[in-house]
């Protein structure tokens, strides 16, 4: 548990992206995370509206197949993590406990050689945008360090999803929020306030808050404080206004 971990994880993601001459994407998170925690593969699923989610990125073809399987069955660690269970750590999918919990998925996964699976929700309070899944072809738990790494990778994926929806370049979370602003209480409070001002869910409010901070080139926490102290409003009210043009989320990726 140290702040160096966050810096190191972001560096791994951006280095990998740069080698491909691209900006950091969810696929990069998948590939690098699988490598960092010694997983066989990994996948990311993103929610689209209530109760639905689609696999959007995977580290390799086998992981894509497994993501598809879970999606089809609607059962498994991933579905549970998306359902509000927090991180779901299944160190042995062939064990009786796993088969009881996921009677269809567990045998199907082990048949494909997946013996352990770890699912981390991309969540922040009421905001839940997807899930990061890690697969292994052997049983056994993640080490403490691997667990902590996986949680930080899930954070990175969460920010990439939010900023993609806000039309913000992928490097923002890394470069601008080095001070860990996104996890401050004021940011959550401001998102709650904006959700009422804008008549949107708190997730959309958080997307807009980040987009606003980015276009104004200001720290997220400073903007959040302005919202809480009512120096900035997002609904065209007495103070402040939405940034002009191009930054309105369109609600769809790709």
């Amino acid at each position: 548990m140290d702040q160096d971990r966050v810096v190191r994880v972001w560096a791994l993601i951006t280095e990998h992206a740069q080698r491909e001459g691209a900006s950091a994407s969810l696929r990069h998170v998948c590939v690098v995370c699988a490598r960092a925690v010694a997983a066989t593969g990994s996948g990311l699923s993103i929610t689209r509206g209530r109760g639905r989610h689609d696999p959007v990125a995977t580290s390799d073809a086998a992981s894509a197949e497994l993501a598809e399987l879970q999606f089809t069955l609607g059962e498994g660690p991933s579905a549970d993590a998306l359902d509000g269970a927090g991180p779901v750590l299944a160190a042995d999918l062939s064990a009786a406990a796993s088969r009881r919990r996921w009677p269809v998925f567990a045998p199907a996964a082990t048949k494909r050689g997946v013996l352990a699976m770890f699912s981390f929700p991309l969540e922040l309070g009421a905001v839940r945008v997807g899930v990061l899944d890690l697969y292994r072809d052997r049983t056994g738990p993640l080490s403490g360090a691997q667990l902590a790494d996986a949680l930080v990778f899930a954070d990175a994926a969460l920010l990439l999803v939010l900023d993609d929806r806000g039309g913000i370049p992928a490097a923002y979370a890394d470069l601008v929020d080095g001070g860990f602003d996104e996890w401050r209480a004021e940011v959550h409070q401001a998102a709650g306030m904006l959700s009422v001002q804008l008549g949107v869910e708190v997730e959309e409010a958080l997307v807009r808050l980040r987009a606003y901070a980015f276009t104004q080139d200001r720290r997220l926490a400073a903007v959040a404080r302005d919202v809480i102290e009512r120096r900035v409003r997002f609904d065209g009210g007495r103070a402040g206004k939405l940034p002009e043009g191009g930054n309105e989320p369109d609600g769809e990726e790709n």
Binding site: A126, A185, H188
Partner: protein, 243 residues
């Protein structure tokens, strides 16, 4: 100390009752922070919980005055709470005015908020430190050794409350409980924002309204916060009750 023995006993009875009854982690931690103030005779108490990012997050405090919140936030850079977390040992800053070299920003901010001393007590699980209990005293007052020991017992009780007895034996469950506690706090902050915007009041006031309404209706504050943020709570009802 002996004069308050009844209060101490009462506090532990209430807290352990909460632990075995229908349990909400935020309700429990807020209760514990408030009991710290009553039983230990401190001005303010707050519980910091470390996350996987290496941040110390305030999960519950006896009051949510902005100045106190800032003191907790500041401890991500410096302060007795951070030192306590890193060392795993209690840090007693009995004279903050004289600690300006060690924690220049924290000492100044604490002084401006009217605090003269701080006791930071670790929340430990075996060799791992999961966070800490910070006790703030007014100018010219510090805690006696026996009171500090009692504070440590309350910090240990907070650890048990967060991790549950079952989880203490299983590292995966420890992680799940920590994540759950941290995420409930985020949800509460989002709910405070929703209600503050609805009423036009401050987030601190919104917190008090949520706490009152939860207590009055026998609902956990975590449940209520989730309903408020997800739009399934009647905000007019939450607000009306507080008047």
């Amino acid at each position: 100390m002996s004069a308050s023995a009844d209060r101490v006993r009462d506090a532990f009875v209430v807290l352990t009752d909460t632990l075995v009854a229908d349990f909400d982690v935020l309700d429990f931690l807020e209760l514990l922070a408030n009991r710290c103030v009553e039983v230990l005779g401190v001005r303010a108490a707050g519980l910091l919980l470390a996350d996987h990012r290496g941040r110390l997050n305030l999960v519950a405090a006896s009051t949510e005055q902005a100045r106190l919140l800032e003191l907790f936030e500041l401890q991500n850079q410096e302060g007795p709470g951070l030192d306590c977390y890193h060392s795993g040992r209690p840090v007693h800053a009995t004279d903050l005015a004289a600690a300006a070299d060690r924690w220049p920003r924290f000492a100044a901010a604490a002084g401006a908020a009217g605090f003269g001393s701080v006791h930071a007590l670790p929340m430990r699980l075996r060799e791992e430190v999961i966070g800490g209990l910070n006790l703030f005293c007014g100018n010219g007052s510090t805690l006696e050794t026996d009171v500090v020991e009692l504070g440590q017992a309350l910090a240990d009780l907070a650890t048990v409350g967060i991790l549950h007895e079952r989880a203490v034996r299983d590292r995966d469950l420890v992680l799940a409980q920590l994540q759950a506690a941290l995420n409930s706090r985020v949800l509460l902050d989002q709910a405070k924002g929703v209600l503050a915007e609805y009423t036009g009041g401050s987030v601190g006031e919104a917190h008090a309204r949520l706490r009152d309404h939860a207590a009055r209706t026998g609902r956990s504050i975590g449940d209520l916060a989730a309903a408020v943020v997800r739009g399934s709570a009647d905000l007019a009802e939450v607000v009306r009750g507080a008047d």
